[in-house]
C-alpha cells in the first residue's frame, strides 16, 4: 500500500512537472503579430470539412506575404478537434489561455461551436464566421459573434419558394439529416410551405452513419413528390440522387449550399447530379468573378497542399474570414477588441466571394445585427458539372 502511494505521488509529480510555466494570457496582439485561432475536423468522419481550416490558413499566408494587416502579420493557430466538442473546448482553452488568441475565425460544426460559444461570450472574444448556418449562433445575438454563413432556415425558404412559385411544384418531400443542420433546414422548408398554404408530402430523417439509403429513397418515392429537398451530407445526397436516377424515380432534386460543389458532386455521382438545383453560400467553384480567379491562382495555387482540391469547403475557409480581415483592416493600427468589434459593426455592403455582408451595431433582439448575410442565389447543375445561375439574389429573411 505504501509503495503504491509512493508510486502515485511519483507519477503525479512528473505529471505536474510536465506542464509548462504559467503564461500570462495576452490579448493576442503584439507590435508585429495578431493571433487568430480556428478548429477544424482534420480527422474523423467529418474530415472532408477540414479543408475549411486549411483554406483560412493559406489565405492568411497570402495576406502576410502581401503586407499583412496594418503592419502586423497574422499568426494562425489551427487545431484538429475531430468534430468532438470536448476536444474543441480543450483546444480552445489551451490556445486561449496559453498563447492567447485575439479572435477566432470560422470553425466547423454546430455542436463543437455551441460548446464554446458561451466561453467566448463570457470573455468577449470576437468570433467571426462560424462554419454553420444554425440559427443558434445568432439567436439571441451576441456582441462578440459575427455570423457569415447564411442561415439554413433562410436557404431552405428560398429553395422551397422557388420550387413552388417559379417551378410550380405541388408535392414537396424533404430528406433531412437528423441533427441541428438538417432540422434547421427542415424548419425553414416547412415554414415556407406553410406560407404557401401547403404541407410536405414526406419528411424522411437520415442518420449521419447510414450507409444503406434505400429505405429512405423508398420512403421518399412512396410519397410521389415532384420535388425532393435534400438536407443531408454531400455523400448521402450523391447516393440518393444516383440511386433514384437508376431507379427511374423521376423528380426534381434540390439541395443546400453544402452540395453546391457541382464539379465534385458530378464526379462522385458519375454524372447523375445533372439537373439538381442548389442554393449557394458564395461563388460557385468555376465562377468568373475576378476575385475568385485571383484567390485560386494566388492563394490556392501557391500555398495549398498537393492533394488539396479547389472546392467549396476550401474556399469557404476564405469566404468566412473575409469580413474579419476587412474588420481588422478598418480597426486601424491601434488594435483592441472593442475597436475591432466596432469596425465589424460598421461593415456595410462588403462583398468578397461570399454573399454581401452587412452588420449593424449590436441590438438585443435583432438577429441581423449579427447575421451578416441574408442573400443567396440558386444554381443548377449542367452536364459535366458546370453551373447555370437560375435566379438573381434572393433574400433569405
Amino acid at each position: 500500500m505504501k509503495k503504491k502511494l509512493m508510486f502515485i505521488l511519483f507519477v503525479s509529480l512528473t505529471f505536474l512537472l510536465s506542464f509548462g510555466p504559467n503564461l500570462f494570457a495576452e490579448e493576442g496582439v503584439t507590435d508585429t503579430e495578431i493571433h487568430i485561432g480556428q478548429w477544424g475536423p482534420q480527422t474523423g468522419p467529418a474530415a472532408a470539412w477540414g479543408a475549411v481550416a486549411r483554406g483560412t490558413g493559406d489565405y492568411f499566408k497570402w495576406i502576410n506575404d502581401n503586407g499583412g494587416i496594418n503592419g502586423r502579420k497574422l499568426v494562425y493557430h489551427m487545431f484538429d478537434d475531430g468534430y468532438n466538442p470536448a476536444k474543441t473546448k480543450a483546444g480552445v482553452k489551451e490556445l486561449q489561455e496559453g498563447t492567447g488568441m485575439f479572435a477566432w475565425a470560422s470553425g466547423v460544426g454546430t455542436s463543437p461551436g455551441l460548446a464554446v460559444k458561451d466561453y467566448f461570450a463570457k470573455k468577449n472574444i470576437p468570433w467571426v464566421g462560424p462554419a454553420s448556418g444554425s440559427k443558434e449562433f445568432v439567436n439571441p445575438p451576441q456582441k462578440n459573434l459575427f455570423a457569415v454563413y447564411p442561415l439554413y432556415e433562410g436557404e431552405a425558404k428560398v429553395l422551397v419558394k422557388y420550387a413552388i412559385e417559379t417551378m410550380g411544384k405541388k408535392r414537396i418531400a424533404i430528406g433531412y439529416l437528423n441533427d441541428g443542420y438538417g432540422k434547421n433546414g427542415l424548419r425553414g422548408a416547412l415554414s415556407s410551405l406553410k406560407a404557401h398554404g401547403m404541407e410536405s408530402v414526406a419528411e424522411v430523417p437520415f442518420e449521419a452513419k447510414d450507409s444503406d439509403l434505400k429505405p429512405h429513397i423508398m420512403k421518399l418515392r412512396q410519397a410521389k413528390p415532384d420535388m425532393v429537398l435534400l438536407w443531408v451530407t454531400p455523400g448521402q445526397a450523391a447516393k440518393v440522387v444516383g440511386i433514384s436516377k437508376a431507379m427511374k424515380f423521376d423528380t426534381q432534386f434540390m439541395s443546400t449550399s453544402t452540395c453546391s460543389d457541382f464539379i465534385f458532386m458530378n464526379y462522385i455521382t458519375k454524372g447523375a447530379w445533372e439537373g439538381v438545383i442548389t442554393a449557394t453560400f458564395g461563388e460557385v467553384p468555376d465562377s468568373k468573378l475576378p476575385l475568385m480567379a485571383k484567390y485560386k491562382e494566388e492563394v490556392f495555387g501557391k500555398y495549398a497542399a498537393k492533394e488539396e482540391r479547389w472546392g467549396i469547403f476550401y474556399y469557404a475557409g476564405i469566404l468566412f474570414v473575409e469580413p474579419m480581415i476587412e474588420g481588422l483592416k478598418n480597426a486601424g493600427r491601434d488594435l483592441t477588441r472593442e475597436k475591432f468589434i466596432t469596425a465589424m459593426e460598421n461593415i456595410k455592403g462588403f462583398k468578397g466571394i461570399g454573399p454581401e455582408v452587412n452588420y449593424t451595431p449590436y441590438k438585443k433582439g435583432d438577429i441581423y445585427s449579427r447575421q451578416g448575410t441574408s442573400q443567396t442565389f440558386l444554381v443548377q447543375c449542367l452536364k459535366g458539372g458546370e453551373s447555370k445561375q437560375l435566379t438573381g439574389l434572393m433574400s433569405t429573411k
Binding site: M167, K169, K170, V204, D212, M218, A246, M247, K270
Partner: protein, 312 residues
C-alpha cells in the same frame, strides 16, 4: 433529362393501390437482400476468425478498407486491367490478414478475450489512421467496370448490378466455405485448432499456419465486401456501418455458424428495410438491435449455433 415546371407524371410505379403497395413491398425485400449481402460478407469474415481463434475481429472493416484503397491506387496510378488489379488486391488482402496474425495476434502472450478485442481495436485505429493519412478524407471514386448505379429494372423493381454481384459473392462464399470447413482436411484442422489448440498440435496440426490461413481467408472475404461497397461511396469511414451490422448479424446467427451468419445478415437487412419503409426510418437500426437482443435472450448462442454449455 429535363426538369421543367410542367407537372411531371410520376406514375408507373407506386400508385396507391394494391399493385403499388405490392411493388413497394417487393422492392423493400429486394433492397433488404441487397444490403444483407454486404452484411453477410462481413459476417462471414468475422465468423471465420471467431471459429478458429475465438476473437471478434474489430479490425475486419478496416482490413477491407485498406484493400479497397489499394485496388483504387493500383487502378489510378498504373494502367492495368481491372481484373488484374482485383486479383492483386485479393492477394494483398490475404497477405495482410496472414501478416496481422503473424506479427501481432500471435505475439500476445496468454491472451484473454478482452485483451484480444482491444488489440484488434488498436489495429483498426492504426489502419484507419493510415488510410486517412495516405489518401485524405475526401470522397473518392473507385474506377470499377460496373457503375454504382447501373441496374436492372424488372417489372417496376430496381436491382443494381452491384447488388446482384454482392449477392452472388455472399452466397458463393458461404457455400464454398461451408463445404470447406465441413469436408476438407484443412477445414477439419481449423475446427480442431479452435476446440483445443494444444491437442491439435499434438496430433501434428501446424496451428500457426492454420491461424495465418484463417486470417488470410477472412481478410479475403472482407475485401470482397469492401471492393463491392467502394463504387458507391469511397471514404475512410465507409466500412464502419457494414462491419457493425455484419458483426451483429454474425452474433445473431451464431458466431460459430457460417450459414447462420449469412441467414441472419439477410434477416437483418430485410427487417431494417421493412421497418424503415413501413414504420419508422429513424429507429430502424435500433429495432434491428432490439430484435437481435430478443433473439439472444431466447437462444443465447445465436440462432444456428449449438449452445455451448459450460462444463465445470
Amino acid at each position: 433529362m429535363e426538369y421543367g415546371s410542367e407537372q411531371k407524371n410520376t406514375g408507373g410505379h407506386g400508385h396507391f393501390n394494391k399493385e403499388g403497395i405490392m411493388i413497394d413491398f417487393i422492392q423493400m425485400i429486394v433492397s433488404g437482400v441487397a444490403t444483407g449481402s454486404t452484411y453477410a460478407l462481413m459476417g462471414l469474415a468475422m465468423v471465420i476468425i471467431y471459429k478458429t481463434s475465438e476473437v471478434p475481429n474489430f479490425a475486419q472493416g478496416e482490413m477491407a478498407l485498406i484493400t479497397s484503397y489499394f485496388a483504387m491506387m493500383l487502378l489510378t496510378t498504373m494502367n492495368i486491367s481491372v481484373y488484374l488489379a482485383f486479383f492483386l488486391s485479393f492477394v494483398f488482402a490475404a497477405i495482410l490478414g496472414a501478416f496481422l496474425e503473424f506479427a501481432i495476434l500471435r505475439r500476445a502472450k496468454e491472451p484473454n478475450v478482452l485483451g484480444m478485442i482491444v488489440i484488434t481495436i488498436g489495429i483498426e485505429m492504426i489502419i484507419l489512421g493510415f488510410v486517412s493519412w495516405k489518401f485524405g478524407a475526401e470522397q473518392k471514386v473507385m474506377p470499377f467496370p460496373i457503375g454504382p448505379y447501373d441496374g436492372f429494372i424488372v417489372g417496376d423493381i430496381y436491382i443494381s448490378k452491384l447488388d446482384v454481384l454482392t449477392l452472388i459473392s455472399a452466397l458463393l462464399f458461404m457455400i464454398v466455405l461451408y463445404l470447406f470447413f465441413k469436408f476438407s482436411k484443412l477445414g477439419l484442422a481449423m475446427k480442431a485448432t479452435q476446440q483445443n489448440s494444444v491437442a491439435a498440435q499434438i496430433v501434428g496440426i501446424r496451428t500457426n499456419r492454420i491461424m495465418m490461413l484463417t486470417w488470410g481467408i477472412s481478410s479475403l472475404v472482407g475485401a470482397t465486401a469492401g471492393l463491392l461497397i467502394a463504387p458507391t461511396a469511397m471514404q475512410p469511414f465507409m466500412m464502419w456501418d457494414p462491419m457493425l451490422k455484419g458483426f451483429a448479424a454474425a452474433v445473431m446467427g451464431g458466431m460459430t455458424s457460417l450459414p447462420g451468419a449469412v441467414i441472419a445478415a439477410y434477416m437483418l437487412g430485410i427487417i431494417e428495410n421493412l421497418f424503415g419503409g413501413y414504420i419508422s426510418i429513424e429507429f430502424k437500426t435500433v429495432v434491428a438491435f432490439v430484435i437481435i437482443v430478443l433473439v439472444l435472450c431466447i437462444k443465447p448462442s445465436g440462432l444456428f449455433a449449438r449452445h455451448y454449455v459450460k462444463k465445470v
